[in-house]
Chain length 285, copies 2
């Protein structure tokens, strides 16, 4: 795989911090620079060993990185990449870790088509890892071990960028799945965004005086409701149409459950429960 | 606490097996007899150390237990208790571990009022523990440690039974919460039965070709969908009215989420996500 001189990680929270730890473990890069707005968070990432050095985003002197991984919330990924196309090394590879891809990738592709003096290569990524925890203090070098990372090339993407980013994620322990940005967004609407919405809804309607009666089932089902509110607000709005499609499918089947229960239809209930169990058992723990 | 001579555990799956292990650890009982229909399951419970001896349910000679814990699926709890009122020791204490309480407790109270030659004392229990796993092979002696067990006395319940069953569950590591059977059923409709229904629904509508793109959020949110289908069919039907009430509350708020997303209402979405996070954060992991 390509050996990188300087990797810049923009945003050193759970994902950025874990990428830093995994990159340093992999030996694929000489140095890892963390870049962000908050000195305390950068210092934390440095203390946990996720980065070799750090720089404030506002610094006029940013390192000429040949690998840039943008791990900020999705609303600022586009502007971060626009900025790094001006300061990264000639021919640098840029990727991101945003949870939605179609809008980000279309915007960056358009940017680079219009203005790309340094021949920057970009391909979008989305590591399917993370949790309700946030911050570099929860980062783990094995966060990506055996996890899927979706990489989303388009017709415009340089094939060498796809190959190199694939090797890079594999060096961090992940399995890479190539998809179009649109197919990715439709998929994660079902596998991630709808579950988040539902988990949050389930938690929110639980009467507080009954919380002492919750057990493993409620704890599991609602766990991700503890996730960052602003982050999920952005994700749901950004991926609104696919999430609405998944939500409609949910509502259609919810009506089947409601009717089965209302009509005391034991056969229908058994069938619905069995469908859920069959799908769930196919994945394992 | 009362010291028991012979505890009979009827049904030695995950819950019955764990009660056996915890009872034997507690030293509160001389011997634990497992009773069931399936010799292979009884043997498994004996192999993992959950019971001292076992007997087939069909055996004409059952031990005169002074403590009986019925851990069968809820549909057979009533008939099991009816049977043990004929064979248990004089003045024995019977409880059960069923996930719903109003119908079971009313039926047993009526039975005992009509015919109780041995002065059997009964009080219902529901340990809020367990998981999607089943069988004595998954039993753990610490399954009840720090978990809540709801005990559901009625006006008819002998106060000594309530006191003794409370001490017993505490000896197994649990915390006891006293509630009426009806209050219990309304509570677990929100904290357990609705989450199960929703987890199963979420799993069932996930397109199978996307399962390779699931990550921690989907895995957590749908985990309990792997639970036993027949068991949950019974629970949902038995507790139908409270579950329908909880389901209606869910549907009302689901419409708020749908509208917020459809109207790109960032403020409403943030508020909804924050409500879910606040409730979830109040419980912890």
């Amino acid at each position: 795989m390509a050996h990188w001189q300087t990797a810049a990680i923009i945003g050193v929270g759970l994902i950025g911090g874990s990428i830093g730890l995994a990159l340093r473990r992999s030996g694929a890069v000489e140095q890892v620079i963390g870049v962000g707005r908050d000195p305390a968070k950068l210092k934390k990432a440095w203390e946990v060993g996720a980065i070799d050095e750090f720089a404030l985003e506002s610094s006029p002197e940013l390192p000429p990185a040949d690998l840039v991984v943008v791990c900020t919330p999705i609303e600022s990924v586009g502007s971060q990449i626009a900025r790094w196309t001006e300061t990264a090394a000639q021919g640098a590879l840029i990727t991101d870790a945003g949870s939605t891809k179609a809008k980000i990738v279309a915007a960056v592709d358009a940017q680079l088509l219009a203005h790309n003096p340094r021949q920057i290569r970009f391909v979008g990524s989305h590591p399917l890892a993370g949790s309700e925890k946030t911050g570099a203090e929860n980062a783990r070098e094995n966060l990506f071990d055996k996890r899927t990372v979706v990489v989303t090339p388009t017709a415009q993407t340089d094939p060498s960028a796809v190959e190199q980013i694939q090797l890079l994620w594999e060096a961090l322990g992940a399995r890479v799945q190539l998809m179009t940005p649109q197919a990715h967004d439709a998929a994660v609407a079902s596998t991630s965004h709808l579950p988040h919405l539902i988990a949050s809804l389930l938690a929110s309607i639980t009467p507080p005086e009954l919380l002492k009666l919750t057990a493993g089932g409620w704890l599991d089902t609602t766990r991700i409701a503890a996730g960052d509110v602003g982050l999920w607000q952005q994700i749901l709005l950004d991926n609104r149409e696919p999430v609405l499609t998944a939500l409609s499918r949910f509502e259609t089947d919810l009506a089947l459950w409601h009717r089965a229960l209302e009509q005391r239809d034991a056969v229908a209930l058994e069938k619905l429960l069995q469908q859920g169990k069959t799908i769930r058992d196919a994945v394992g723990n």
